[in-house]
């Protein structure tokens, strides 16, 4: 390589690092806001994160659709690569790792031997019927694999509604008898941090990870969710709320009222008792369901799916047909 080419390459490398550093700082600021702190606290978070050895994370997939990982991949502040390279060290994740088959399994075994320990993230519910044979990875049931991996972890995060409470995998008739991580691993004394949502906002994941690294376990509500992100109802932060308060309810999806931002309560909105931060965190920095005209279906609640369906109509009461 001649001198000029070397110089250009080095500049490009420095620039790249510079951008990633900016990204990192921006990300810390954004996490600070999501955690209900001043944006200026971002620098403090950055220092706390930089001072530490990056914790190892093992990300397991159970009975799921990979939607939560997809949501995570769409992170912008920070980009996913900044998250998995600079904040944590993602040592095993079937969706994004290059290895497959035996090589992947070997990577898992290696990651579990990390002397510094590791955090275990589980996405998806755990099938338990007939000893869990309806969900297997490499011939081992998810139930036994997750018991092993989560059992040795420093902390467990249940990513998404399926991992938290069973979600759609546990909806009737639930042929594989899928249950949430907390319920499945309770005999081991494992109480995961639940990050429900279908999918959860990736900001809630990042915020929880940062909280774990900088301040320890976040305060959880009675359903195991961090109050930082799940402390208020969707309804209490909803931009259609002034219409609710005035009694202005849209009666059809195609009505002018629905377009004018009237409340979607009579079209089946579950926002009044759904704890999540969608209205403030937004998805893909753009919008959230109710803003786009779709009622909240209560995806972050423990009873989701069965107790909240049928969707897009008023809440079922005693005597109503399902």
């Amino acid at each position: 390589m001649n001198a000029l080419a070397q110089l250009v390459a080095r500049r490009a490398e420095a620039e790249e690092r510079g951008v990633s550093r900016r990204d990192f700082l921006k990300f810390c600021g954004m996490v600070a806001v999501a955690m209900g702190l001043e944006a200026s606290m971002g620098a403090q978070i950055a220092r706390a994160l930089e001072g530490k050895k990056k914790p190892s994370v093992i990300y397991m997939h159970g009975a799921e659709c990979t939607g939560c990982t997809e949501a995570l991949l769409r992170l912008v502040d920070p980009y996913f690569d900044v998250l998995i390279m600079e904040v944590v060290s993602l040592d095993y994740c079937e969706t994004v790792m290059a290895a497959a088959g035996h090589a992947a399994h070997a990577a898992l075994q290696k990651a579990m031997k990390n002397p510094g320990g590791y955090f275990c993230v589980i996405e998806g519910a755990i099938p338990t019927r007939d000893g869990g044979v309806y969900g297997q990875v490499g011939g081992q049931t998810m139930l036994s694999l997750f018991t092993e991996v989560a059992g040795k972890a420093k902390g467990v995060i249940a990513m998404g509604s399926c991992a938290s409470y069973g979600g759609i995998q546990a909806a009737a008739p639930n042929p594989s008898k899928a249950i949430g991580v907390g319920a499945a691993l309770k005999p081991l004394g494992i109480a995961p941090i639940n990050l429900p949502g279908c999918p959860p906002n990736p900001v809630n994941f990042v915020g929880t990870v940062v909280h774990l690294l900088t301040k320890g376990l976040p305060e959880l509500d009675t359903s195991g969710r961090p109050k930082l992100f799940y402390g208020k109802t969707v309804h209490d932060m909803c931009e259609r709320r002034p219409h609710f308060d005035k009694g202005e309810f849209a009666l059809t999806f195609s009505s002018q009222q629905a377009r004018d931002g009237w409340c979607l309560h009579k079209l089946g909105c579950r926002g009044p008792w759904t704890y999540n931060n969608c209205p403030t965190a937004l998805f893909n920095q753009t919008t959230w369901p109710v803003r786009s005209g779709a009622p909240c279906i209560g995806c972050s609640e423990p009873g989701f799916w069965d107790q909240l369906a049928p969707f897009n109509r008023d809440v079922r009461e005693k005597g109503d047909d399902a």
Partner: protein
Amino acid sequence: MHRIRCLAAAFLLLLLPTALLAYEVPKEIIIKRPEKNQPLAVWVAPVTFPHGKHAVLNSCDSCHHEESDRTLGQFLPCTQCHNKPTVTETSSFYMAWHNDSTHSCLGCHRKMREAGKMPPLSCTRGCHKKTEAQ
């Protein structure tokens, strides 16, 4: 001294049935917003709460969470403490009924739904009945 104490205890024991009979369990309570509070939603009217029905199904302290055996029969109305005009503080009037905790209407009905029961949950079909066409 010991005898006096025993006698006093026996006397109190005799009084117990009368005490139990003496306190009233209201059948219905109309829950009204404290006068100084601005209404949050203009269409929400005072709520008629079937207190008797809930008292049969639940122990008193499931809702009257500040009470103990000592205060039996002298329960305070919720609004004694929950009367602030905000929507976020637990001491607010709104949060007495819409809190995540099972001491609160909404929190308890949510938990019951999770357990597969069907208590009312919809704002306008449950407590704040609103039937007129928009």
